[in-house]
């Protein structure tokens, strides 16, 4: 295997595998961190490992919650606008389709990707990675690929930015018309909260470790 044999680093080094900080490349011995403690890089301070009790089950539960909220957010009405007897009801999909005329079709696709499709793909990949681990089975095939995808998509999943965008838009139209907020808005706001909890509960180091063990 390409995996570095413990002790390769220098003669007389303790027999422990190594871990490099993702930010500054500093080598550390693989930490044996007790539950609910955090190990950080000695040079740049990046969190290396932060295992928690029941972390997998917790992250999985939050990912499932997010999926359910996302379904609600997409299909329920989002905002009602009424002024002078005219009414318009908007859903999240309408917001994505706002650019669907002429040259702006690609932007419509991009908005749909950023606020719905990428978050959903990411949740699916996380559930796929963690479900077998929570049940105590061996990871499903290509789980490392799925988890790498989820990590890769993280900056592009912009549901929370969309929610703040909605707030700004409400301020802009608020003076002109009567607005009522539909259930989908609250589902989306809940989704943002759950996503933050879920990203914080996830210890990437522990997940990578559990994904590698069964293959050897």
């Amino acid at each position: 295997m390409d995996r570095l044999a413990p002790g390769d680093r220098q003669a007389g080094a303790p027999d422990r595998p190594l871990l490099a900080c993702l930010t500054c490349d500093t080598l550390h011995y693989e930490p044996d961190v007790p539950m609910n403690h955090v190990a950080t890089c000695r040079r740049c301070g990046r969190v290396l490992a932060a295992p928690r009790d029941n972390a997998f089950a917790r992250v999985l539960a939050l990912a499932l919650t997010s999926t359910i909220l996302m379904i609600g957010a997409v299909f329920f009405p989002f905002i009602d606008l009424s002024v002078a007897g005219l009414q318009n009801r908007t859903s999240v999909l309408d917001a994505a389709l706002a650019f669907s005329t002429g040259m702006m079709v690609p932007l419509s696709v991009a908005v749909a990707l950023l606020i719905v499709l990428i978050p959903v793909t990411r949740l699916g990949a996380i559930i796929y990675t963690l479900l077998p681990l929570v049940r105590g089975c061996a990871p499903w095939p290509h789980a490392p690929l799925a988890f790498r995808l989820a990590e890769r998509l993280r900056p592009w999943s912009m549901a929370e930015i969309f929610v703040v965008g909605v707030a700004v838009a409400l301020v802009k139209v608020g003076g002109l018309a009567t607005l009522s907020i539909g259930p989908a808005f609250w589902a989306f706001a809940g989704l943002v909260l759950v996503t933050v909890l879920h990203d914080n509960a996830m210890c990437r180091y522990t997940i990578w470790k559990s994904l590698e063990t069964p293959s050897r």
Binding site: I79, P106, V168
Partner: protein
């Protein structure tokens, strides 16, 4: 917490002749092209990553120009029809007395994008060079660029929501302008530029010569 056994002086994987995966942190002896654990391509930090940084950054700056020239929103009401650019929209808000919202729009769509261009260019130029900022400050700047970069997309979302919401026949209609497309592209390109910048390059300058 301190990891026991890590009390000795700091060494990097590169210095030790090894290659670390940038996705999962697994350390490899030099050689394999892909990580043995997560299958990500292993990148011995070369100048290749810097080329990508400059290419994306340049693309971001170029599309940021039409984003400011062309209209972002086209509003049609009973009485008038108007088009507003990014800066024009902020000035309109100022004239209506909404200083707070005007400031938010101006910061999110002018100050942050321009600041990002400058910050990424500074980080890429100052690699391996002593500069006004220490390594830790540069690292902080890098993290800020990565964190704030995505939030510029807010303007595009506001335009999308407004155009979907305000479709009231003859009373008021808001349609998106072509600047929304170039602005979204500019944000995406700068995000890609920041992601291509390998943070390990920033820290390499900190290493004492072997």
């Amino acid at each position: 917490m301190e990891i026991p056994g890590n009390a000795e002086p700091l060494t990097t994987a590169r210095r030790a002749g090894m290659l670390a995966c940038t996705r999962c942190g697994l350390v490899h002896a030099s050689g394999p092209a892909r990580c043995g654990r997560c299958d990500a391509p292993l990148d011995p930090r070369g100048r290749k990553s810097l080329q990508a940084v400059w290419a994306w950054l340049l693309a971001g700056v170029v599309v940021y120009i039409p984003a400011n020239i062309y209209p972002m929103l086209r509003t049609a009401t009973l009485l008038e029809q108007s088009e507003s650019t990014i800066v024009g929209g902020a000035i309109d808000l100022l004239e209506h007395g909404s200083y707070g919202v005007a400031a938010i729009v101006f910061i999110a769509s002018v100050l942050i994008p321009v600041g990002k261009f400058i910050a990424i260019a500074y980080l890429a130029l100052s690699l391996n060079r002593p500069g006004a900022l220490s390594i830790h400050q540069r690292h902080l700047l890098y993290e800020m660029v990565e964190f704030i970069g995505r939030w510029s997309m807010i303007d595009v979302f506001v335009v999308a929501i407004l155009s979907a919401l305000v479709q009231l026949g003859s009373v008021a209609i808001i349609n998106p302008g072509i600047a929304a497309v170039s602005f979204a592209l500019s944000v995406a390109f700068t995000m890609l530029s920041a992601q291509s910048l390998d943070p390990r390059l920033i820290w390499d300058a900190d290493e004492e010569p072997a």
